[in-house]
Point group: C2
Chain length 467, copies 2
């Protein structure tokens, strides 16, 4: 940390970067101290000190009289190397890391979750108190391989209520919705396979798919779902194995899949052997349920994924996968191999909270608050010339176009300096065609400083352009 900004640090970073990018492999001789000093316009002693610090760290080894060499191991596969190398300032992990990193003083209109005060704190406290008096097994034992039976039965009932016929044995609990999607990808994909995503889509799908070393093809998203003709063309051209999407409320646009589009997508999938992964984490925000691909399909080629992080608590890690029974059987093996047994505590807390009548009332309140926040945010943004792509029926997301010529990344970087984390459009876009979009989370826009920072950023950029 303390070497940031120093010349020695700059030399060390340069060497590290070349090792990370594998341009210096294990055993590679570093440029001589003198050559490096000339190239970087630093003193010889600066470079020597940097090399020796790297040697002390084991990154390079010094051979007496023969210079410095890159030590094994070969540079570990950093995530950034797997896919196209984007500038870290705007890569798909930028928003996650900025949003998760921040302390309470930072405003996060770009994050994908509700403020802690909007979550179901009272229910969580009640569940903790009940657990403290509860069964010792819940407190101390691993869960069964599929996960907490009572929670799976409850989830199966909730799915049936939305037209999805799933047995509890077709449900496997996971530690999170993201882990659920990751396990499904491990199960279905091999490196080099092609995956379809919406363009734009949830940015962490990009990060996750990079980790799986697959090719990603984006299909433009319309206000009623993916563009069906372009979807058909992508199937023909790329023979993808999987399509990953949100059901219910689309992230980042807040749009909803129409029944017609759902039916047409599913027919296309059936004709081409495509598996669809439907991430349903926003279900409880809907005023009335949109069509689910898993309902039309009967969990034959659709895998349905969800969690409680967005509505109950992000601190309580619990997600689930609903799929064909034989796929679930293989997914259990993969879960045990890569995460061993699940716990019982989080699942039992989720079950307690979801069966409380208080939770339903809580979610009614949240939906009304979101509707108010949506209207207020739309009005404030429009007044600044920031235009919603659509005004969503439900949920927290508002996908907006900046005024002509404004770059979302530049706005986000300026706002970050003001303590406001935004979500610039291209982190959601495989084609990088959303450079003038931002995703707003209306639940995180109550503080006027969000709009003050935005206004300052827009003004600064406008002045820069005219200047």
């Amino acid at each position: 940390m303390q070497r940031n900004g120093t010349r020695i640090g700059a030399v060390m970073d340069e060497v590290r970067a070349r090792i990370a990018s594998r341009s210096y492999g294990p055993g590679t001789r570093l440029p001589s101290v003198r050559a490096q000093a000339q190239a970087m316009r630093f003193s010889v002693s600066t470079v020597l000190e940097a090399y020796e610090r790297l040697a002390a760290e084991g990154v390079v080894t010094s051979r007496r009289g023969a210079g410095f060499y890159v030590a094994g191991p070969a540079a570990p596969l950093a995530l950034a190397q797997i896919g196209p190398q984007l500038d870290r300032q705007v890569d798909p992990l930028w928003v996650s890391r900025q949003s998760l990193e921040t302390d309470g003083s930072v405003l996060k209109p770009g994050c994908g979750w509700l403020p802690a005060q909007w979550l179901y704190e009272a229910g969580i406290r009640r569940a903790l108190r009940t657990l403290a008096r509860g069964d010792a097994l819940e407190l101390a034992e691993y869960a069964t391989p599929l996960g907490h039976p009572a929670l799976r039965r409850l989830l199966a009932l909730r799915m049936r209520a939305n037209g999805m016929a799933a047995d509890p044995e077709q449900l496997m609990l996971t530690e999170s919705g993201t882990q659920a999607v990751d396990l499904v990808c491990r199960f279905l994909l091999e490196p080099g396979d092609t995956v379809l995503v919406d363009d734009p889509c949830y940015f962490n799908f990009h990060a996750l798919l990079k980790a799986h070393r697959v090719r990603v093809v984006g299909v433009p998203y319309t206000p009623s779902g993916p563009d069906v003709e372009l979807f058909r063309a992508a199937l023909q051209q790329h023979s993808p194995r999987v399509y990953i999407t949100n059901s219910g409320i689309h992230n980042p646009t807040g749009a909803v899949l129409s029944a017609t589009t759902a039916h047409r997508l599913l027919k296309l999938a059936e004709g081409s052997g495509l598996v669809i992964v439907e991430d349903d984490i926003f279900a409880d925000f809907e005023h009335s349920p949109a069509p689910r691909l898993a309902a039309l399909d009967g969990l034959s080629r659709v895998i349905h994924v969800g969690s409680f992080s967005k509505t109950v608590s992000a601190s309580l890690r619990c997600g689930y996968i609903a799929a064909r029974a034989d796929w679930i059987e293989s997914l259990v093996d993969l879960k045990i191999a890569t995460a061993f047994g699940g716990g019982r505590l989080a699942a039992e807390m989720a079950r307690m909270v979801l069966t409380e009548s208080g939770y339903r009332k809580h979610m009614e309140t949240v939906r009304l608050r979101l509707a108010d926040a949506m209207a207020a945010t739309v009005a404030r943004l429009e007044a600044m010339g920031i235009q919603p792509w659509i005004v969503p029926q439900a949920g927290m997301f508002l996908w907006c176009r900046l005024p002509q010529g404004m770059k979302a990344e530049a706005v986000a970087q300026l706002c970050l300096k003001d303590g406001v984390v935004l979500a610039p459009g291209n982190v959601f876009s495989q084609s990088q065609s959303a450079g003038d979009f931002l995703r707003f989370n209306v639940a995180q826009c109550a503080d006027g400083r969000v709009f003050d920072a935005l206004a300052r950023a827009l003004a600064a950029l406008a002045a820069g352009r005219s200047g």
Copy 2:
């Protein structure tokens, strides 16, 4: 489920197996109903019914007049296909699944954890009550990318007490020790790389490494650690990228790495660019700490992993990775991409429990109970002619050889019918050379029915041999 054991089910299973093994790819025409009926010696109507049920499930499609074809998608990559296909009865997931699946009536001397009543129930209850009154952020928010700062500070102190100098910034929390090892593998390994393990080693390392599609080479384990000469030979012959082992108390043998072996291993690793992953989940069972590779190495090429599942609670999911700061940086990206943010609840509970003086007293009691259980189990097994390989200084594991000519898998299968889950030796052995070994968990051997079932199984097998 209901078709198990039927002829229709047998035909369906046959087709599924061929799809799973990819011998029938998507679009492959199934054998004609008549040919299949002849091949399997079933009636035509049986096969037709089976094909039609498969069609109803979407596994195959029927083309009028042209027969049945395998539907897309191509068979998902089941874990079992990735590595050598072992009989499910004895594969590395067998023990996990049998142990996790069972209800309270089944005895589990083969499992790798303490009975729930041995864990720190009182401390967990106290932590739950305190949390119920605690900060709303702990209850509802995601953790920061590295995870709960106070728990990381505490873990860094605990590591320093064992000679491992780690900053809190070199620690990343995970959902479990297994997820920690999995993330490290994702970071360091590419499909086709070679990994060294101990032979025998923790069986789930085999399952995990299969999921990573790497080549696994076993190095025979001695009572003082891996055989150093064979380790050196394996490095030269296979150029492995990673060596994964247990520190402290070795699973399954209960042996302990000697300081001499640790030093020699590390020198070999330094000379060959090997990264060592040291899984330290049994640390709190030690009476006096064994050498840690991470302490000798200073977290340069050793990655240290741990969790609280074995001592605090298996239900509370929380593990950690300690490694070089630049590696931790990349591991954070991978964690967010594949599991998103962690929770705060489990980490805060772990922190509360670990800082209680009650926890230290609890672990003292557990260590004494384990020593008693170890002595008692050794005596009962020796009386049956089952011989410990060594009598471990600490921990729950006892690695034992069966009487001459007895096969552990056969014993395990007979005992399972008696409601006793054993851990047969070959699930731990890459070379499959531990067919006459069993791993016992002495904490799970208090019930005399364990030894009754063992005695019956041994007698039945002896009778079968002489008959």
